[in-house]
Amino acid sequence: MTAHPATAGGNPFRRMGALVLRNLYLVRSSWPRVIEMAYWPTVQMIIWGFITKFFLTHSSWLVEAAGALIAAVLLWDTMFRGNLGVAVSFLEEMWSRNLAQIFVAPLRPWELVGALTGISLIRTLIGVVPAAVLAIPLYDYSIFAMGLPLLAFFTNILVMGWSVGLVVAGIVLRFGLGAEGLAWLAIFAFAPLSGVYYPIATLPPWLQPVAWALPSSYVFEGMRAVLFDGVFRWDLFAWSVGLNALYLGLAAAFFLGMFRVARHRGLLLDVGE
């Protein structure tokens, strides 16, 4: 069959861009959504900023790197927003009963995964950057002073958020909107294990191997190494990249597997609880 006269042929980036555009239209149409995205990271940053001020007079550990708690909260929120950016963007299609329309368009499932991660990046930046900027006048602390290591931490923690978001999206696709609460809750299981606010060595010895199986643990340890010792730990960076590549691949495979189950069971039209 020759090229379709009305179409420009198969361009996966245009199709992924279409879904990103759909979300930008959505954000543009609703200021409450934009405020909601930035609200929680900002509130978190303010709370931890005051806690930091308090501990500066009571903790010699924190005096060495005053920004450690603020940087930790901003990176944790990057992971949380990365997860929400994937899972909630997928949920938006289910809430609007739009999923079947998308899947009968020539959009391949892996292109949907790509689009969700792109949307997640934008939503995360909208959420976290204002909080990071606000920390400068409020607490005289700029996370951007970390320089290039910040980019490495941000990317790694965001990718872990994507993995969690894809697994949640797969579960919701399989079990329906009754499981949508996981989009907000599932990620918190990783908070105590990731050493967000304390070193992994604080955890009981039997739990530490579990923590070291998470890319996020390497990110937060790496962040503390930069802030306290002024050293960028390439070994920690390599571990987080390797584990992220593994988990992102597994999460994408899980989502695509759930998509196939949904096609067997007729779940793509029957979207509900």
């Binding site: 009305a6 179409t7 198969g10 245009r14 199709r15 329309q101 998308i102 020539p106 096609r263 793509l268």
Partner: protein, 254 residues
Amino acid sequence: MSEPAVAVDGLYKRFGPVMAVDGIGFTVPAGTTAGLLGGNGAGKTTTLSILLGLLLPTAGAVRVLGHDMLTRRFRALPWMNFSSPYVDLPHRLSVRENLTVYGHLYGVRGVRRRITQLAEELDMGAFLKRPVGRLSAGQKTRVALAKALLNRPRLLLLDEPTASLDPDTADRVRTYLERYRDAHGAALLLASHNMAEVERLCDDVKILHQGRISDEGPPGDLIRRYGRETLEEVFLHIARGRDGIAYIYDMEDR
């Protein structure tokens, strides 16, 4: 002879103990309109979902525009589209925004021009900037149809295409669909409970009952064969059996 737009052979779909589609087979030649009729649960939506690639069959072969939908659906999908009242478009996005997104998803060249053209043809100019959630049911039906026509499909699957439309608009939409089919040599596959619509639009009708094709043929032939005056009477005859339709006539005579 060219390959049919749709070729279904030995199609089965089982959901647990329920056989939703039970060994059906049919073809829809290019440039024609076929209708799938049947009561609730007859297997129409299941069949359409399999044709669209949304659902995998338990067994059978499905070819759309010459492509195997089980293994190469992405070769067929750019050439087909569908409209159904059971799916929706994002409510917060305007009509134009929704059509723009789908224009890009289908890789349509000149998306703005195509939207303007469809807005004129389907009389949507007045509400192109309005969010879809604020449209009337009839306006939503027209927008869904516009989305289905964006990529100038060669196969158009339509589930209740004139639902919620007033008689005048419904008639104009039917005329539009006939012209579209004739101008583009497209195949239309229609699932509808509006028998007058099916009689007017369809060259061929498949009547589904409990997942099987219980009868098929051109509407006029079916009406003559069953000795009825309308396709609706034929449908009731098949759905309820000869006794059921006799009972209805009996009640009307009283």
